[in-house]
């Protein structure tokens, strides 16, 4: 009998297959709603459990045998971070499904692929077995390739192939790591991929060598590489603008809302727990990388002329905060990075949906081709302003919480972090500049194109997708305590481990 977490993987897969059966095809979009709602429900359930019994231990643990000789099992379990990511995955997929509810080009295939993607991301977020994690991590490239490559824009093939090859290249080293881990555990009392056990073997990784180098040294870099490409961190980010620009709106939502979080999650779940000493040693360099991502992403976003590309670069900047916060080695920073991952999911999804709203009407995304849309589309303008402010980190909205915590963590961290954090505050200015400048160029001023005066405001379906995201941004911004309380034990345990390894 499978438990709730395995169900979040198995059910979407089953629904995806069902969606392909000809008689059931008209129901495909409802299957997608069902699958994502189920994920959301399980995530919320896990959250309720975490609220009732706070702690860093895994919840809803289940394990099904896969291969005894490999030491792999279909093991699932979530802690605060996993629950947050699972909920995010369900929510964003639900929102993306609503956004693509009227998809007319082979909708059954589209929704089946979305469900497959959901299953894979859920598996990544809930797996406590490294092999399952890796399998899902790689397998989700396939639905993503199809979603961008089939339903995307004019240059979708270029973007999709670039995305897949880039991320695949980023994670090949991780495969090597997995194999080395398998060899090592097999030699140290039984093969296993159980993440908690692997984490407890940190001294083994530090002491066992492959070709003269400790496993930990190369392993950390391998995981890092895979995660930094997914994150994406500068300079490994250039697949992102292409993918976002070419992907259809709903897929952009998934990409920004869920896919980028995989990189963050991998850092929190694999890189830091398994290789704490390396994590500590690399922290200053990663801090620099995070800072570069933050600033470079922000400046580049400022220089964009395409709305989607702009939001894509804002993602680069915002995900830089996750890296920076985690690297700071403080509870506040790590917590801020995790919260930022969640809230960026909401705000970037909302922004992409809003870009989709204007694209559906104007059929272009050039920032300077708009203007004054607040007149014919007041609701749109308000939502755009709201999402932009949330993304820019206005207090009381989601983006602020993570950003402020990262700043607080960075300022109280050791070494060069306070100085780097001071440099990172420039992004506060830049984020306001590129987002609100965009709002100005799109929504305010006189009408940019007289024909835009007849545009209809956001309809009910569009609002159904966007408004809940905005509401969540407000809730998290005003009262982040439940989220933070769920995440805090995880971050504390993580950092205790890291700082303990230093001694």
């Amino acid at each position: 009998m499978i438990g709730p977490l395995a169900a979040t993987v198995a059910a979407p897969l089953a629904l995806a297959l069902a969606a392909l059966v000809p008689p059931l095809r008209p129901l495909a979009r409802w299957f997608a709603v069902l699958g994502s709602a189920l994920t959301l429900g399980v995530g919320a359930f896990a959250f309720a459990d975490l609220a009732a019994r706070p702690g860093a231990d895994l919840r809803l643990v289940e394990s099904h045998p896969w291969s005894t000789t490999f030491g792999a099992s279909l093991a699932f379990g979530v802690d605060g971070l996993g629950a947050a990511m699972l909920t995010l995955s369900g929510l964003i997929t639900l929102v993306a499904t609503i956004a693509a509810f009227r998809e007319s080009r082979r909708p059954h295939a589209y929704h089946a692929l979305v469900l497959t993607l959901l299953a894979a991301t859920n598996a990544v977020f809930t797996a406590t077995d490294l092999l399952v994690f890796y399998v899902a991590w790689e397998a989700l490239l396939v639905p993503m390739l199809a979603l961008i490559g089939l339903w995307g824009g004019e240059q979708r093939r270029y973007a999709a192939i670039k995305f897949v090859v880039y991320t695949l290249a980023g994670s090949v080293a991780m495969l090597l790591l997995l194999i080395v881990i398998a060899n090592t555990t097999a030699a140290n009392g039984g093969a296993t991929f159980d993440l908690p056990r692997l984490a407890s073997m940190a001294p083994v990784w530090a002491s066992t060598t492959v070709l003269g180098a400790p496993i930990a040294r190369f392993g950390f870099v391998a995981v890092l590489l895979a995660c930094l490409v997914k994150l994406p961190a500068v300079p490994l980010h250039t697949w992102l603008p292409h993918a976002h620009v070419q992907a259809p709106t709903a897929v952009s939502v998934l990409l920004a809302g869920v896919l980028l979080k995989l990189g963050v999650y991998g850092l929190y779940r694999i890189a830091w727990p398994l290789f704490p000493a390396e994590a500590l040693a690399w922290s200053p360099a990663l801090g620099v990388l995070g800072l570069v991502s933050i600033l470079w992403g922000a400046f580049t976003a400022l220089g964009q002329t395409d709305l989607k590309r702009l939001v894509a670069y804002s993602s680069v900047s915002h995900m830089g905060f996750c890296l920076f916060g985690l690297a700071s080695g403080t509870v506040a920073g790590a917590l801020g990075g995790a919260v930022q991952a969640v809230t960026h999911g909401f705000s970037s999804a909302a922004l992409f949906l809003l870009v989709g709203v204007v694209y559906d009407r104007a059929h272009h995304r050039r920032v300077d081709g708009f203007g004054g849309l607040a007149g014919p589309m007041p609701r749109f303008a308000w939502l755009l302003l709201f999402a932009s402010l949330a993304s820019a980190g206005l207090p009381g909205l989601g983006g602020f919480v993570g950003e402020f915590l990262v700043f607080a963590g960075g300022f109280t961290a050791n070494g060069s972090f306070p100085a780097m954090t001071a440099a990172a505050t420039v992004s506060v200015v830049l984020a306001a500049a590129y987002l609100l400048w965009t709002v100005k160029r799109v929504a305010y001023g006189p009408l940019g194109d007289p024909q835009h005066g007849t545009f209809a405001d956001c309809d009910r379906r569009e609002r159904l997708a966007i408004v809940p995201l905005c509401a969540l941004l407000l809730v998290v911004g005003v009262w982040p305590k439940p989220l933070v309380d769920a995440l805090r034990p995880v971050c504390e345990a993580l950092l205790t481990n890291v700082h303990g390894a230093a001694r």
Binding site: P235, W296, G303, V331, A374, V428, V429, L436
Partner: protein, 687 residues
């Protein structure tokens, strides 16, 4: 004091915003009525709160929650009331109520009027948050929300085109060059500029909070370390702490300067002042509250709030910044021909004066003087702006001082009320400005005398600014209200505000007198202004000096704009051409706007960001080739993305070389095998 009272004072405007924002009927009148009522209730609660606090004289700590607990420290949300906060809350509430009431008349034929109340109430809520907050974190949050409120209000007419493309503006603008970049002058741009420039300050604010945090955490403090009540503790901890090679004292200075940087942004101090004149693009009623009790007041208030952690060297920076701004803005105000621009630069100048006061240090009465000037200035500047609004309303949007004059005949109430306010801002005896400005100058003088050297700078700058203040304010009043009409149709059509709006002006006027502030020295006692012998002496000198400055400035204004004009002499013009470089410089806003536009908007925002985009994804031609043709040969190897593609091209080039061997020639295949085998045999056997 009831525990809920400060919370209510804070949250009633928020509920007003929610109620008026979500009214089921889109009636502007109802929204204004409800908002006015609720703001009045806020004011009443604030008065009640103030009466309690003033009676007890102490600090009242309201409810406090841990917003987030981060282990080594926590971020709190809570309120705290001391006399300064209580009086500020009353002033905010009172002015907001009056402005809201005035706005009902001012916007009676504005189609978007129904939006105004909720944005305004939200703005007030945010400002009261800054005022009542008990810790730096909540202050920062509300501080940003204040920025949002101003953003919304400034962009009230968001659909207006830039001034250069606005026929209405072009028809009514004054003929003089103003140093304003017309293509960038629109509500939509002004709101953006205000927000972004405020964020520049906020970045500094964040650094300040960060420095304070690291100071407190390093000192081993726990819990809600950003509480204001613990700031003296931070100053004490600074003596014994070092962090990353910085001594605690340096860290404390850094924290103080960071927080002051936020104040520079919000209170429009040099060099982050340029957003404030642009913010005039909003409704004049919004300007009246921005310039008076909310927004710009927040910076001064925050510095006063954090006064305990400002070491002497930080205060010197505060004083100098204030002094420079005071004189700098005053020079610009002297040559402005726009009705509201004069007032805008006067606000900047007066805020500088407040910082001069704050920079003088508590022991010289600077803090109390700065705050007192904040209070008095709030009332008379609000009145001035409402009067200006009445004039603009009467003049159908005309704001050009060249065409005004003689309006006192048809707008007597407005004229007299504004004259009272002008006298107050000029610092005439018996007016409130005299009391507070005098105190500031006295404090600066006392500080300069005590500290000597560079400390004279702020004092002298403030004195020069005061001299100009009386000059340009009287000039303003004379050009608008006195003399003969320059445009008869304008004067004929003009009328005083109707109904409640008129009473709003009349109600505000008494606050421009010194009596309400000085009766029984209640304000000095509430602000705990120090009394010392050397301060009395400085006070005496300051009274003489301030009066002399007032007289000199007023005399110059009367001579140039009243006496000379009555004799049809263009003495002002002659003087301007005599002082041409100075005059031109001031008219061109000393080039700061242009410089900022060049460096930040065009330099960083367009050129540098464009460069970044280009380095990242490649040249526009590459992007076009990718977008339109999907041409992967569109190379830009100097860009990050192009380099990645270049890697692919490198492999492609290798492969094309390899195609020589895989080119379908059987002979080549066989020869290749023969060569490999021969080489292998030679290498392994025959070698």
């Amino acid at each position: 004091m009831p525990n809920w009272l400060p919370l209510f004072v804070w949250l009633v405007p928020l509920s007003a915003a929610l109620v008026t924002g979500r009214l089921p009927w889109r009636s502007a009148g109802a929204a204004h009525g409800i908002a006015t009522g609720m703001l009045a209730a806020t004011t009443a609660l604030a008065v009640w709160m103030t009466s309690i606090v003033l009676r007890s004289g102490g600090t009242f700590a309201g409810p406090h929650f841990d917003w987030l607990d981060l282990g080594s420290f926590s971020l709190g949300v809570g309120v705290m009331v001391d006399p300064m906060a209580a009086i500020m809350a009353v002033i905010v509430g009172l002015l907001a109520t009056l402005v809201m009431a005035f706005n009902a008349w001012y916007m009676h034929d504005e189609p978007k009027a129904a939006r105004f109340p909720w944005q305004f109430c939200f703005f007030v809520f945010a400002m009261l948050g800054v005022v009542l907050s008990d810790n730096l974190f909540l202050s920062f949050c509300c501080w940003e929300l204040v920025g949002l409120g101003s953003y919304l209000l400034i962009g009230f007419w968001f659909d207006r085109p830039a001034a250069s493309a606005d026929p209405e503006y072009q028809a009514t603008k004054n003929p003089d060059p103003r140093g304003v970049l017309e293509h960038l002058l629109s509500p939509a741009h002004a709101q953006l500029k205000a927000f972004v420039m405020n964020r520049v300050g906020d970045a500094g604010f964040l650094i300040g909070i960060g420095a304070l945090l690291s100071l407190m955490v390093t000192a081993g403090e726990h819990g809600s370390v950003l509480d204001f009540v613990r700031l003296p503790g931070a100053a004490a901890a600074a003596q014994s702490t070092t962090f990353l090679g910085l001594s605690g004292g340096q860290l404390l200075t850094l924290a103080a300067l960071g927080i002051f940087c936020g104040a520079v942004g919000k209170s429009a101090q040099f060099p982050l002042h340029t957003w404030l004149p642009d913010a005039m693009q909003g409704p004049t009623t919004a300007s009246s509250i921005i310039h008076a009790a909310t927004m710009v007041a927040a910076g001064v208030f925050l510095v006063a709030r954090c006064y305990a952690m400002f070491p002497a060297d930080a205060l010197a920076v505060v004083g100098w910044t204030g002094g420079i701004t005071c004189l700098f803005a005053a020079t610009i105000a002297c040559v402005q021909w726009d009705l509201k621009a004069v007032l805008a630069y006067s606000t900047v100048s007066q805020l500088g004066l407040m910082f001069v006061g704050l920079g003088a240090g508590d022991e010289h009465g600077g803090r109390a003087a700065g705050i007192a000037h904040l209070f008095t200035h709030a009332t008379f500047k609000c009145l001035l702006f409402l009067c200006a609004g009445a004039v603009i309303h009467a003049a159908n949007g005309l704001q050009d001082l060249h065409r005004m004059g003689g309006l006192r005949r048809t707008m007597p109430v407005t004229a007299w009320c504004s004259l009272i306010a002008v006298l107050a801002i000029a610092g005439a005896p018996a007016f409130s400005g005299f009391y507070s400005k005098d105190a500031v100058i006295a404090a600066a003088l006392a500080h300069a005398t005590a500290a000597g050297g560079a400390a004279w700078g702020p004092f002298l700058l403030a004195a020069a600014g005061s001299l100009l203040t009386s000059f340009y304010m009287l000039r303003w009043w004379i050009r608008v209200f006195a003399g003969e009409p320059r445009d008869d149709s304008l004067v004929e059509h003009a009328h005083d505000p109707a109904g409640a709006a008129k009473w709003v002006l009349i109600a505000l006027a008494p606050f421009a007198l010194s009596l309400p502030w000085t009766t029984g020295d209640w304000l000095d006692r509430a602000l705990r202004a120090p009394h010392a012998e050397h301060l009395h002496a400085a006070h005496g000198q300051a009274v003489v000096l301030a009066s002399a400055l007032l007289l000199a400035g007023a005399a110059a204004a009367l001579f140039l704009y009243w006496w000379a004009v009555r004799r049809d002499r263009d003495t002002a013009g002659a003087l301007a051409s005599r002082l041409r470089p100075l005059h031109r410089g001031a008219q061109e806003l000393w080039g700061i706007d242009r410089l900022q536009d060049l460096v930040f908007t065009r330099g960083l925002g367009r050129w540098f960001a464009g460069r970044c985009a280009r380095v990242d994804l490649g040249s526009p031609s590459r992007l076009r080739a990718l977008d339109e043709a999907g041409d992967r040969r569109a190379a830009d190897p100097l860009s990050l993305d192009g380099a990645i593609d270049g890697l692919g091209r490198f492999f492609g080039g290798l492969a094309r070389r390899g195609a020589v061997l895989h080119g379908g020639r059987t002979g080549a295949y066989l020869a290749f095998v023969a060569i490999v085998v021969g080489a292998g045999l030679w290498w392994s056997v025959l070698r």
